[in-house]
C-alpha cells in the first residue's frame, strides 16, 4: 500500500467534507452540546441534573471502582462538591466517547455510500488505486476530523468545567489522568473501530442515510458503558480504560483486515439505489 495514494484520497475527502454542511452540522452541534451546554447546566444546578437515581446511590455506585486517593478526596467534599465532581469528572466521560463515534460515523457513512449517491464512485473505482489505499484514505478522512473535534471538545469542556467550578473547588478539576487516557488512547481506538465498521457498511449499502442508520448501532456499547458506570458495574478508571483500549486496538486490526478482504469494487459499484 502506498501511503501517498491513501493521503491523496484523504485530502480529496477532507476538502469535500469541509464543504458539506449536511455532514458538518451534526459534527459541530453534538460536541457543542456535550462540551459546553450540558456541563454548564450541571455546574449551575448540579441537583437539577436528572440522573435517574438518588445522589447518595449515584455517588456510591460510581465511586465503587475509583482509586483510593479519589475516595479520600471526595470524603472531604461537601455534598454539592461531591455531586459536581462525580458528574463532571466521571459521569460525563462515557458521553464524551459519543463525540468521535458520532463524528466518524457521519463522515464514514458518507464515504462510499455518499459517493454512490452522488454517482462519483465509478470514476474513483476505475483509478489504479488499490483497495487498501482507497479504504485507508477513506478511514483517515473520517479519523482526522473525528479526533480533531474530540480534542477541541475536550479543550472546551476542560475550560468550561475549570472556569465554572473554580468558585466551588478553588482548583481546576480537569484534566485528570483518566481523561487524558480516555481522550488520547481510548477515543482514537474507538474511533477507528467505528470508522472501520461504518466504511465497511457504507461500501455495501445503497446510500448515505442507510449507512448512517445502520451505523447507529455502534452507539449501543457506549450506552452500555454509561449504564455500567451509573450502576457501579464498571468505573472508567485507568485500568478499565487501558484494558478497553487494548481490546479496541485488537478489534481495529481485525476490522481493517476484514474490510480489505471484504471490499469488492464490483459489489460497491453494483449496489446502486
Amino acid at each position: 500500500m502506498r501511503l501517498s495514494k491513501a493521503l491523496l484520497v484523504f485530502r480529496k475527502d477532507w476538502r469535500e467534507v469541509g464543504r458539506n454542511w449536511e455532514v458538518l452540522t451534526p459534527i459541530a452541534l453534538v460536541p457543542l452540546l456535550f462540551s459546553v451546554v450540558i456541563p454548564l447546566i450541571a455546574i449551575s444546578a448540579p441537583g437539577q441534573v436528572n440522573t435517574g437515581t438518588s445522589r447518595e446511590v449515584l455517588i456510591e455506585s460510581i465511586m465503587r471502582g475509583a482509586p483510593a486517593g479519589v475516595m479520600e478526596m471526595l470524603a472531604g467534599f461537601t455534598e454539592d462538591q461531591q455531586l459536581t465532581y462525580v458528574l463532571l469528572v466521571y459521569m460525563f466521560a462515557p458521553f464524551f466517547l459519543l463525540i468521535p463515534v458520532m463524528a466518524s460515523s457521519v463522515i464514514a457513512s458518507d464515504s462510499f455510500a455518499g459517493e454512490k449517491e452522488r454517482k462519483t464512485i465509478e470514476a474513483l473505482l476505475a483509478t489504479p488505486l488499490t483497495d487498501g489505499e482507497l479504504l485507508f484514505g477513506k478511514m483517515l478522512a473520517s479519523f482526522v476530523p473525528a479526533m480533531a473535534v474530540t480534542i477541541l471538545s475536550f479543550i472546551a469542556y476542560t475550560v468550561v468545567v475549570d472556569v465554572g467550578t473554580y468558585g466551588l473547588f478553588g482548583a481546576p478539576l480537569l484534566p485528570t489522568l483518566e481523561w487524558f487516557l480516555l481522550i488520547f488512547l481510548m477515543t482514537p481506538a474507538l474511533s477507528l473501530a467505528s470508522i472501520g465498521l461504518t466504511v465497511l457498511i457504507s461500501s455495501r449499502v445503497r446510500g448515505f442515510k442507510e449507512a448512517q442508520q445502520i451505523s447507529v448501532v455502534l452507539i449501543i456499547p457506549i450506552i452500555g458503558l454509561f449504564i455500567g458506570q451509573g450502576t457501579g458495574a464498571l468505573t472508567l478508571g485507568p485500568p478499565v480504560i487501558l484494558a478497553l483500549t487494548a481490546l479496541l486496538a485488537f478489534f481495529d486490526l481485525l476490522i481493517f483486515r476484514f474490510s480489505v478482504l471484504l471490499f469488492k469494487r464490483e459489489k460497491v459499484l453494483t449496489t446502486w439505489k
Binding site: 491523496l8 480529496k12 458539506n20 470514476a123 476505475a126 469494487r265
Partner: protein, 318 residues
C-alpha cells in the same frame, strides 16, 4: 503476457447478474489506434462490457485483455493504461475543476507537478474550461461537466480510451470538437478508442469498425461498408438522364457488374457490385449509347438504417 497487435481482445466475454445475462459471449478484437464502436439500444450490455474491460466488473465467463493485460489478473495495470468516461460524468461537485483534475491526475500516477499542471492546462484550454478552473463543478452546466469528464479521462495520456456516450449533453459545436479530438488521438497519438454510443452519426463518422449488440449478444461486427452490404446486398447507382431510350437501357443492362435495372421516368436505378469501379463505365456506356447524363448518385444505406434493420427488426421478429 503482452499481445501487441490488438489492444483489446475478448473471447467469450460473459457477465451474469444472478439469472440475468447482461453480456453474452462477446468475442472481438480492437487494433492499436483503432476507433471501435459498440452500438446497441438501452440495456444491450454496452456499459457492462466497458466496465469489464476497465476491470470494474469481473467477467462470469470468458477472457479479456487490454493492452496485453488480463482484466482479472492484472486489473491494476489495466486501470493504469485506461482512461474512462463513465455513463455519468462522475465528478466531485464540491471540488473545483482544477481540484478534480489534480486528484485524478495524481491517482493515475502523474506525479511530476510541472507535467501535471501543463497537461491539465492543455486539456482545460482545449475544452474551453480554463477560465472556470477555480469554480466548483456543481456550478457547471451538463455540457461543461461532460467536457471536464472527458478531460479527466485524458489527463494521464492513456493508451486505451473507453468512452461511454461522449457527446451526450453537448451542443453541436462541442460534439464536433470531441469528434475531432477522437480522430486526432487515434491518428496522431495512436490511442485506441472504444466508443459506446447511441449516436449513429458519431459511429459512422469516427469508427473504423462497429459492433452491434442487443440483449448482451453480438448481432454483427464489421466496417460500416461491410454492414451495409450485409443488409442491402449491393449499393444502388442512380443515373438521371435528359431522356431514357431503349438503347441506353439495353446498353446498361449488358454491362458487367450491373444487376437489376429499374426505369422510373428519366431515372435509371441499378444495383451494382462495386459502385466505385462500375460508375465510370456506366456513365461512359450511357453517353456512348446517346444518353445525356444530368446527375449520378450512389445510394448506400446509412448506419441508422443498418441499425434499425439489424437491431429493431430482430426485436420485432421476437
Amino acid at each position: 503476457m503482452s499481445r501487441q497487435l490488438s489492444e483489446i481482445i475478448t473471447e467469450g466475454l460473459t457477465k451474469r447478474f444472478n439469472s440475468f445475462t447482461a453480456v453474452d459471449h462477446l468475442s472481438f478484437e480492437v487494433g492499436e489506434g483503432e476507433i471501435f464502436g459498440i452500438l446497441g439500444p438501452n440495456g444491450a450490455g454496452k456499459t457492462t462490457t466497458i466496465r469489464m474491460l476497465a476491470s470494474l466488473l469481473t467477467p462470469t465467463e470468458g477472457t479479456a485483455y487490454v493492452g496485453g493485460f488480463d482484466v482479472v489478473d492484472d486489473s491494476l495495470k489495466v486501470r493504469e493504461i485506461v482512461g474512462i468516461l463513465t455513463e455519468n460524468p462522475s465528478l466531485y461537485d464540491r471540488l473545483t475543476a482544477m481540484e478534480n483534475m489534480e486528484f485524478f491526475a495524481e491517482a493515475y500516477g502523474v506525479s511530476d507537478r510541472q507535467a501535471r499542471s501543463k497537461k491539465i492546462r492543455e486539456l482545460l484550454d482545449f475544452f474551453d474550461l480554463w477560465h472556470r478552473r477555480d469554480d466548483k463543478v456543481g456550478t457547471y452546466s451538463k455540457g461543461m461537466k461532460q467536457k471536464l469528464a472527458i478531460a479527466r479521462a485524458l489527463v494521464h495520456d492513456p493508451d486505451v480510451l473507453f468512452l461511454d456516450e461522449p457527446t451526450s449533453g453537448l451542443d453541436p459545436r462541442s460534439s464536433k470538437d470531441i469528434r475531432g479530438l477522437m480522430e486526432e488521438l487515434s491518428r496522431r497519438e495512436g490511442q485506441t478508442i472504444l466508443l459506446c454510443t447511441h449516436r449513429l452519426e458519431d459511429a459512422e463518422r469516427l469508427c473504423s469498425r462497429v459492433m452491434l449488440i442487443n440483449e448482451g449478444g453480438m448481432v454483427t461486427i464489421g466496417t460500416t461498408d461491410e454492414l451495409r452490404s450485409q443488409i442491402a446486398g449491393t449499393p444502388i447507382l442512380r443515373v438521371r438522364l435528359g431522356e431514357v431510350s431503349e438503347t441506353v437501357v439495353d446498353a446498361v443492362r449488358s454491362m458487367e457488374g450491373v444487376e437489376e435495372v429499374v426505369v422510373d421516368g428519366n431515372t435509371l436505378s441499378m444495383s451494382v457490385k462495386d459502385a466505385d469501379e462500375v460508375t465510370p463505365y456506366v456513365v461512359r456506356g450511357v453517353v456512348m449509347a446517346g444518353g445525356m447524363v444530368q446527375s449520378v448518385e450512389v445510394l448506400k444505406p446509412s448506419l441508422e438504417e443498418i441499425y434499425l434493420k439489424l437491431v429493431v427488426d430482430e426485436d420485432e421478429a421476437e
